[in-house]
Amino acid sequence: MRRDRIRWLLVWLAFALLGCVSPLTSAQAIAKEVAFLDLSDFTGPVAGLTVPASSGLEDYIKSVNEKGGVEGVKIKYIGVDTRYDVARTISAFKRYARDPQVVAMGICSTPAGKMLQRLTREQPIVCTVPGDGEFQAHLGNFFTWGPTYQDAFAATIDWVLKDWKEKGKEGDPSIAVLSWDNAYGREMLRGGKEYAEKKGVKVLKSELFPTGTLKYDIYLSRLAEAGANYVYVGGVDPTQTNIMRDATRLGLTKDIKFISDYWGPTALGTSLHPEALEGMVVVSFFLRGEDAQNNEMMKKFWTTYRKRPMKEMNGGYAIGLGLGMSLEAAIKDAIKRVGPDKLTRDEIYKSYQNITGLDRQGVVGPVAYAPKVRRASDVVKFYVVKSGKIIPITDWVEAPNAVALHKWE
């Protein structure tokens, strides 16, 4: 009995001690450490993209910390699996964003981004999001990963016109969107459609499907029936790869040219159905395929931190490195302006608008963020899948500002 009492007393003492010590450590930590909250989908439909992207960001943060941090300030990486679920994302945001150490965050879901934008209006915290044009149209604390979806679509329209002319075809080409039935899937046409029509490209009725779709025969057959010359495919790989698998099986790839948006075939797709992907064009704001394999910075990070063979590296890894470079530059800018002890969310927000022109070693385009710009860069590259490899067919080309063409509410 007496022994039990002593045991309990010791437990209580330990708890009391912890209670006294923890406020001290967190107070000390605030000055020397800031945190990046990564609300990412490590499982579910977009995991094929976000797992490599988040790995890149985490590795970049590790490398910064190994060098002693940004001017002595270390960055803590907090990764939460949100499973492409808006409710989970909001819940995780509410849980983790209470901590003042969290000075910036990232999410990978457009629908969740739209919801979080409203929640963070009062107390802005920098949030990086994939490519929704609305964040450029309504300036705030949301910064895209690259040019917006409509900008990429507009760049594709330019490429389509060039391709059409090179093939010596007459009349105007037609294009249709085949993508997920959600806010992301429709986004490229808000401004993208206006750009296409301005350039004389006919935009056919989109075919939208649920994220978990396993077969695409019906949508593809309808697009063929509608006479599409080009199909712009959305979704996250393996969606594009699976669409190409079905298109090839239906014999549609001879008459229709398929072009993927940013999240199309990566090392995953080319290992699954290389023959079906043959000839698919991909628009990208980050290095992928052969370009990524040969990039020194990506090689160094992948082999140092992931310790895996280069052929296993997914191009999405470049996105994370790009995000990491922007974060480091913004923290550096804020330290320069206000010192390491005043790294608040407001200061980081201001700094993200100050890093215009930052060179990101060619992994992604130079930073375009500015007081009136929320898109990360304004250049894209075009790739084609050939013999199971993703090879570049253009250099970096400017992505037109299609967001400005849309009438936003």
Binding site: A47, K215, R249
Partner: protein
């Protein structure tokens, strides 16, 4: 006209795949009266095992088939032995919920293993297209449809001519009567879970041959359940019929109604069919009508 034929033929091919998943659920229900949700996962794990042996271990197709079926048999036996057997004598609803728990637990493992990516073994099997009735048909789908027909024929012969099959039929009729004739009902339960897991694996491999192994694959088990309910939970013929019917309905309705309503018809077609069939024939198309004597 050609469009309609294409939709019907593609629907038939998909329907055959649904029917195989439904067959596994019907097998369990016939003997145990448990409606199983776990078969979506048994199907997915079976397909994953086939992929692992064929692609990762680079073994020939027959070896991959044998090892995948052996793995699924073990999975079926384990599910019965550790999740279902302790519930014998308990309300059937508890058993139903247990199959749901098994589904969720295995789903977590499945999602973690795939990490949002997908795997495929299509490159290791015959591919190409053939023209039939003016419709271009992928060989992968024809092979899968062929597997479906062979499977149903095999099951029909199994229940008619084998001792275990006859024992299962007797158990389905009445557990106590079956026991009194010397049939070990517990061992029949075990056999039925093994057999249904093997059938689910054949369905899973056929499905994955057409659609790859991707995170939503286990959820096709839900569609299998709908097919089983539409066909009648005790009827294998009903499962085949309902599967083909659903495949055609999904494709034709989506083909013609999607442009009118703006899309999504394929996703709701199964539930509309289920609702209509249950309103008219509550025991399904070929299900047994239970007469309760008061």
């Amino acid at each position: 006209m050609n469009e309609l034929v294409q939709l019907i033929v593609l629907g038939l091919m998909e329907g055959g795949l649904y029917a195989m998943v439904a067959a596994a659920i019907v097998l369990v229900f016939k003997s145990t009266h448990v409606v199983s949700l776990a078969h979506g996962q048994l199907m997915a794990f079976g397909a994953l095992a086939f992929w692992f042996v064929l692609v990762k271990l680079d073994m020939p197709v027959p070896v991959a088939v044998i090892l995948a079926l052996a793995f699924s048999a073990m999975l079926g036996w384990t599910t019965e032995r550790f999740a279902m057997r302790p519930l014998i004598g308990q309300p059937l609803f508890a058993a139903f919920l247990t199959t749901f728990a098994v589904f969720l637990m295995m789903d977590g493992i499945f999602q973690l293993m795939l990490k949002g990516e997908s795997v495929s073994f299509a490159a290791h099997l015959p591919k190409g297209n053939v023209m039939m009735m003016g419709v271009s048909l992928p060989i992968t789908q024809l092979v899968s449809f062929g597997s479906c027909l062979v499977l149903f024929l095999g099951l029909a012969l199994f229940f008619r001519y084998t001792k275990v099959g006859l024992g299962m039929r007797a158990t389905a009729e009445d557990h106590q009567l079956a026991q009194s004739t010397g049939i070990t009902v517990r061992s029949i339960f075990s056999h039925i879970w093994v057999l249904s897991a093997v059938v689910a694996t054949i369905g899973g491999v056929s499905l994955a041959n057409v659609m790859d192994i991707y995170y939503p694959l286990p959820y096709l088990g839900i569609k299998g359940l709908i097919v089983a309910l539409v066909g009648g939970l005790e009827s294998l013929t009903g499962a085949l019929l309902a599967g083909l019917l659903l495949g055609i309905l999904e494709n034709v309705s989506a083909g013609y109604l999607d442009p009118v309503v703006g899309g999504g018809v394929k996703e709701v077609a199964a539930y509309v069919l289920l609702l209509l069939v249950l309103l008219i024939k509550p025991y399904g198309l070929l299900g047994l009508v239970r007469i309760e004597r008061i």
